[in-house]
């Protein structure tokens, strides 16, 4: 794959998505609630009232009688994973299905690019848009958590890692499912299917992984899933099916 070709295609993708503000707004709406409103509401509760303590050790490995620990080791990681899973799906679906529905892939492959370069540029566009839309929310919440003394600086990478990993995982899974879908509607329906299983994997990993490293373990698990999905998408499914 040539980086110069991917860069040129990325420029095209960003220009196109920038002109489709409705798609961007729709993509940003749910993550706004999950990545910003919900964390802020929990933060307020922690500061003003304190989370009502649950019986000790009802979640394996976490002292949930400490509201701060409960928030940092379970609630925020789960919220950030949910936000990271939701954020890229619509953009990925839009970037790929739109090409199929208007038959413009034929136009694109008539230029000197490979199918792999086209997919790589689309994935980079999704990650760029996701970073632009999601990172400000996450950064604001992390800043507030540190400034208000809920956690130290070590919580920044510990909570950022599962968010970034969830974005990568969601992008790769959406890519596989969107390539398999017939149209925009079926792509959206298929994309809804991976949300619950990945959330179960998230909860399972948080329960099984030991101590404060659990969010990093979760990030590694999600990145592993992303890698497998990406391999399937690029190697076995690919855009070829759109051109057959």
């Amino acid at each position: 794959m040539r980086w110069s070709a991917i860069r040129s295609l990325l420029w095209k993708e960003l220009r196109q998505v920038g002109r489709n503000r409705m798609a961007l707004l729709t993509a940003a709406f749910l993550p706004f609630i999950i990545l910003f409103l919900a964390p802020i509401q929990i933060l307020l509760q922690l500061r003003l009232a304190g989370l009502r303590a649950l019986p000790n050790n009802s979640f394996p490995g976490i002292d949930i009688s400490d509201p701060n620990q409960l928030a940092l080791q379970l609630i925020y990681p789960v919220l950030f994973v949910m936000g990271g899973l939701l954020l890229p799906t619509l953009t990925t679906t839009y970037a790929i299905v739109a090409e199929r529905e208007r038959h413009s892939l034929e136009l694109l492959v008539s230029l000197p690019v490979t199918v792999g370069e086209i997919l790589a540029a689309k994935l980079l566009m999704v990650l760029t848009v996701t970073a632009l839309v999601g990172l400000p929310y996450v950064a604001a919440v992390l800043t507030l958590l540190v400034v208000l003394g809920i956690g130290g600086l070590e919580i920044v990478p510990a909570l950022l890692a599962p968010f970034v990993a969830a974005v990568l995982c969601s992008t790769a899974l959406s890519l596989v499912l969107t390539l398999l879908a017939r149209d925009f509607r079926s792509a959206n329906n298929l994309n809804g299917m991976f949300f619950v299983p990945v959330l179960l994997v998230t909860l399972g990993t948080l329960a099984l992984a030991p101590g404060p490293a659990r969010t990093y373990v979760l990030a590694l698990v999600l990145i592993g899933l992303a890698g497998v999905a990406l391999l399937i998408a690029m190697r076995w499914i690919t855009f070829e099916r759109y051109l057959e």
Binding site: S8, L9, E106, L107, S110, P112, V113, L243
Partner: protein, 300 residues
């Protein structure tokens, strides 16, 4: 490299996921400098062949090479940047302008002058229009402009005029005729008039198999020469007179088509007929059209 074909298929097959065999162990090539047309009915494997050359599809078995480089292999990127492609009836972006698309093509080819291309193809006034807003004729001009932007050595044209009205198709033909001059070209079409006007060599595909690969000139030479005759006495009398002289003749479209070499046999034959009192007032040499040759090959 001298002697290296511009395009080559070696025992190439392509089977789609749904089981359709689009190409079945085809082997053919065209040399550098040739202007060849790829003919065949719908579903014969023409577009599949072009997509294999673009590396948009991979062959199931066999090899495909472009400008001496295996498709998808080492050096293919460079060969691909020296090849302009006009796709068949591609969809157009509603969120990219003419200039932006051509600029994307320039970046990907690594060279080219977008403003000059806009001028050459009469697109300057449509520079900032979205591609989907252009008429079919202008959309095809944009695609041609993108394919020719980098002055490629090789042109792959997949049904470049399909779906256009006659005026737009005529305009595109004029651009094509000029673009193909001195340039290796593979034109995939089922428009026989287009192929005849623009190409020298013919590759005929049917059901994924090469039926024929020959130059138009040698195809025509192989076809028995014929002449169309008409006489004042009428078709029946003329046929009888010809048969008396052992000349094969048939009635076609109300006229008599005689199997004779117009240049070498016609003068003697006409003299003989006129002497006998058969008032021949027409003798027109017939050149086999590509349509005749195509139909003959497909029906074989």
């Amino acid at each position: 490299m001298p002697g290296t074909p511009a395009i080559s298929f070696e025992e190439t097959s392509k089977r789609y996921r749904n089981g359709t065999l689009a190409l079945s162990e085809v082997s053919w090539s065209i040399p550098v400098g040739a202007r060849a047309c790829l003919l065949g009915p719908n579903g014969s494997g023409k577009t599949t062949s072009i997509r294999l050359l673009e590396a948009a599809l991979s062959p199931t078995t066999g090899w495909v090479s472009l400008l001496g480089t295996p498709v998808g292999g080492r050096g293919y990127g460079d060969a691909r940047q020296r090849t302009g492609v006009v796709p068949q009836n591609a969809g157009m972006y509603s969120d990219l302008t003419t200039f932006e698309y051509l600029d994307l093509a320039r970046r990907l080819y690594g060279r080219g002058d977008v403003d000059r291309a806009l001028e050459t193809f009469g697109l300057a006034e449509h520079r900032d229009k979205r591609l989907a807003q252009l008429s079919g004729g202008f959309q095809r001009r944009v695609v041609l402009a993108a394919a020719l932007l980098s002055e490629p050595e090789l042109l792959l044209l997949d049904e470049p005029t399909v779906g256009l009205d006659p005026v737009a198709a005529h305009e595109v033909h004029e651009y094509l005729a000029s673009a193909m001059r001195g340039r290796t070209t593979l034109l995939s079409t089922h428009n026989l008039a287009e192929a005849e006007a623009l190409c020298d060599d013919v590759v005929i595909l049917r059901k994924g198999v090469v039926l024929l690969h020959e130059s138009l000139a040698s195809l025509r030479q192989r076809k028995k020469p014929r002449a169309r005759l008409a006489a004042r006495q009428g078709v029946a009398a003329l046929i009888e007179a010809l048969r008396k002289r052992n000349v094969d003749a048939v009635i076609e479209d109300g006229g008599v088509i005689a199997s004779i070499d117009p240049e070498h046999e016609a003068p003697e034959l006409l003299r003989s007929l006129l002497t006998e009192g058969i008032a021949v007032y027409e003798c027109t040499p017939l050149t086999a059209s590509l349509e005749d040759l195509f139909l003959e090959a497909v029906r074989r």
